[in-house]
Symmetry: C2
Subunit: 320 residues, 2 copies
């Protein structure tokens, strides 16, 4: 094997987080400082205007993702250090993907003369969560409503699956000037599984001068102002709004009671241990139930063949 080539150019994919300079990481700031060329969507370049003075600036529009990556590669081949910037996390629906597509197409490998670094940041869902309370204390997903690259049936199937399985959901790219109906369809799919009063938060330009936060419900979300810069957070069946804060409880069992300034473990449960309805306890209980896989599949809303496998597996080896 040949020794890796000496690195001459560099592509840094930099997530800015929410976009205000106080929420930049030290590494994101240093990466931009290190760059000769900074490439990004106009809005993002404006967020770091004070950091990019004196550098070559390449402004790109929202839909020119591949062009941005191609231009970064060309500059890096000339030995330049290029920062490709975006708000949020550059890995979440961001430039990291298209950049590797372009690099692989060009024959680049990690051993070649161009170094690639990804600088992670807080994504829009993290930012929204911080501004509205604690909605992401339990399982969540991110779904983009953009059908520019994804067929609608794929998106609809995902909305249906996670609405059913009671995830907290962050909708990215919920609506644009042209795409106004996707969010209506998303609401329709959610209402098949979730209560109309399910809390919804809509956050726009979080931590930026034009920040706006609206708390509403699944039934009324489409009466709100939703646009390209909005993220829509839909709560799960336990999420509640109190005093203007959106909070999702930690679990589905009230294992602890908070009373008189201390936490008390409920009957039948042990602190720091799996629930009595956790995996081991649940396996033991279905095995002892005498019920068929078909009956249990209906009771627990799980695939019958999965239940059959669990029943066939026998008693767990150790306690939970």
């Amino acid at each position: 094997m040949n020794a890796p080539l000496e690195k001459t150019g560099k592509i840094m994919l930099v997530g800015l987080g929410p976009g205000s300079s106080e929420h930049l990481t030290a590494r994101a700031r240093a990466a931009i400082a290190e760059a000769d060329t900074v490439i990004g969507y106009v809005t993002y370049l404006r967020l770091v205007a004070d950091l990019v003075k004196g550098k070559e600036i390449i402004r790109k529009s929202m839909t020119e993702e591949l062009d941005r990556a191609i231009e970064a590669l060309e500059r890096a081949r000339q030995g330049r250090k290029v920062a490709l910037i975006s708000s949020g996390d550059v890995g979440v629906y961001g430039m990291a993907g298209p950049t590797f597509e372009v690099l692989f197409q060009s024959g680049w490998t990690p051993d070649s003369e161009i170094e690639v670094e990804i600088v992670p940041g807080a994504s829009a869902l993290n930012t929204c969560a911080a501004l509205v309370g604690a909605p992401l204390t339990h399982d969540f997903c991110a779904i983009s409503l953009s059908d520019l690259l994804t067929p609608w049936p794929t998106i609809a199937r995902r909305l249906d699956a996670v609405a059913y399985a009671d995830f907290v959901v962050a909708l990215y790219n919920p609506k644009s000037g042209r795409r106004t109906r996707q969010i209506v369809e998303a609401q329709r799919l959610f209402l098949r599984h979730r209560h109309p009063q399910t809390p919804v938060a809509i956050v726009k330009s979080g931590y930026r001068p034009k920040q706006s936060i609206e708390l509403t419900t699944l039934a009324r979300m489409n009466e709100c102002d939703i646009g390209m810069l909005s993220t829509v957070l839909i709560g799960n069946s336990r999420t509640f709004i109190r005093h203007g804060l959106m909070v999702t409880p930690r679990g589905y069992a009230n294992k602890y009671a908070v009373e008189a300034g201390e936490s008390i473990t409920r009957d039948g449960e042990q602190a720091g241990r799996s629930l009595s309805t956790g995996l081991e306890g649940w396996m033991a209980s279905i095995q002892a139930s005498g019920k068929s896989a078909a009956e249990l599949a209906v009771e627990y809303r799980l695939p019958e063949d999965y239940i059959a496998t669990v029943l066939a597996t026998g008693e767990p080896a150790e306690g939970g």
Copy 2:
């Protein structure tokens, strides 16, 4: 309405991001500097040891979440500024939830004398993604395999739903000394829907001295070293590994071809517009198909009543 009380104490919920000081945000650093008291799990306190010198330090173990929140509230009532720290994002399976639970129980409201601030950070899934390539370029979810507060059937239902709907999935709390079987069951549920060769990344202590990254497959993931500090990322059906990098393509349609250094739009598609199989195009095509809702439900793997509603809705008002 009474005027809000003058703020005397403060609780700052601070996400440290990956944990190395270069990935701290300026606000996270300033919040810790501002605090009189810093409360956290021992591992996290060690990550910011140089920032907390001279402050009151309260070390808590992993399972004492409510105690940490109660102690923060007590200190804040005495007029102190308290930073509750955790790695990643404090809102993602973090202290933000339990803290609001405790605050609400105590009668606290946002107008009371204690201010609460949440400082967002990159969560474990963002960190993993940055270290392995670009796995989060398309829809993803986070699922915790901990059954300490969530019944196993709820967790299993979620694993099944997102494996079916082809999300990239980040498993949090995949395994501990006591909980070793949950990850085996997760793999079993995924293998019902995903190819055994589906790429999987396992990242431990990302950006910290003991960082380890393993790329493997769904079939072999349980042969890897997985523990309390690991995050497991399972790709979707399009995710691939090339040159040691895990990449999820942006979309499900090859709308653009990257050739000869430029991107070209494929036949029948327009740059910056919804796909021909996007919402509007798909609605038009199923309405023109002459097929029944039942047939279309099978073809597109979507609920029949949803298809029936779409068919009844008629032609969209505007083009996509």
